[in-house]
Amino acid sequence: MPVTDVQHDLDTRTLTITADFAAPVDRVWQVYADPRQLEKVWGPPSHPATVIDHDLSPGGRVTYFMTGPEGEKYAGYWNVTAVDAPTSFSFEDGFADLDFNPNPDLPVSINVYSFTAHEAGTRAVFTGTYDTAEALQQVLDMGMVEGASSAIAQIDDLLAA
C-alpha cells in the first residue's frame, strides 16, 4: 500500500494523505491529465466514473458522473483553480445534478494535489479541505471527539467562532 501518512488537521479542517508511487512524476501527472486514466482511478469498482468535460487548466472544468450497481448516477464537478504541470494542481470538488449544475446544498472541498520526485518514484500529497461554511466541517469536528462532553465543547467552540 503506497500510503505513507494520513493527517486529519482539525484547525485547518484538512485531510492530507501522502503516498509514494513507483513511477516518475510525469507519469503520475498523466493519470490526471488524461480523462481516460482519471476515470479509472476516481470511482470505486462498484461506482465507476465517467469523465465528460476535462480541462485541466486554470479556470477549467472537469465533470464526471459515477454509476452505481443499479444504474443510478451521481454527478460531480471540479473547478480547476491552479495548475503547475506536472507538479501540482488545485481544484474545488463539488456535487452536481446530472446536467452538471453545482448543487449548493452539498459540501464543496478545496483540493491541492502535488507530485514531487522522491527516491526512484513520486511522492504525492493529496490535501482536501472541507470548508463548506459549517456543514461538513461541523460534522467532521464532532466526529473527531469522544463522548458527549467533548462533543458539546466542540459545538461551543463553533458557536463562539
Binding site: L15, F21, V41, P107, F126, A151, I152, L158, L159
Partner: protein, 129 residues
C-alpha cells in the same frame, strides 16, 4: 461510501447546517429537554422549534419520548460519534483511489502520452538509466 451512508450524511449535514439546530443539539447533548423548554430559549414560535427538533430527529441526531403532555428530547451521542465513521469512510475513498493509481501505474501497456516538450536549453534526453 454506500448509498445508505451517503443519504445519512446528507441528512446530518442538512440538519447541522442551521445555527438554531446546532444550538438545540448542544443543549440536548447536555441533557434531556422538553420541546417546550427548548422553545422558551429561542425567539421563535413553539411550532418553529418543533420543526427544528423534527429535522434533527429525522437525521438520527436526537431521540424523542413522550411523558404525559410533554415531549422530551435528548441528543444521540452515538449518532454524533458515527460521524467519525463517515470521516473514516472518506479516508477509505482516498485510499481506494491511491490503490487504483498504483495499479494503473504498474499496468504494462498504458496509452501513449504526448512527449514532454523539451526546454530549448535542456540537454538532450537520454533514455538509458
Amino acid at each position: 461510501m454506500t448509498e445508505h451512508a451517503e443519504d445519512r450524511a446528507d441528512a446530518m449535514f442538512h440538519a447541522l447546517a442551521d445555527r438554531t439546530r446546532r444550538d438545540i443539539m448542544r443543549r440536548v447533548l447536555a441533557g434531556e429537554h422538553s420541546v417546550s423548554a427548548l422553545a422558551a430559549k429561542y425567539d421563535m414560535s413553539f411550532a418553529a422549534v418543533q420543526k427544528h427538533v423534527a429535522v434533527l430527529e429525522r437525521a438520527g441526531l436526537l431521540t424523542k419520548r413522550r411523558t404525559g403532555r410533554e415531549q422530551l428530547t435528548s441528543g444521540d451521542v452515538n449518532a454524533v460519534r458515527s460521524v467519525a465513521a463517515m470521516l473514516g469512510e472518506l479516508e477509505q475513498v482516498w485510499r481506494g483511489r491511491i490503490a487504483r493509481i498504483d495499479e494503473l501505474l504498474a499496468a504494462p501497456a498504458t496509452p501513449p502520452v504526448a512527449p514532454p516538450v523539451a526546454h530549448p536549453d535542456a540537454p538532450p534526453i537520454h533514455q538509458e538509466d
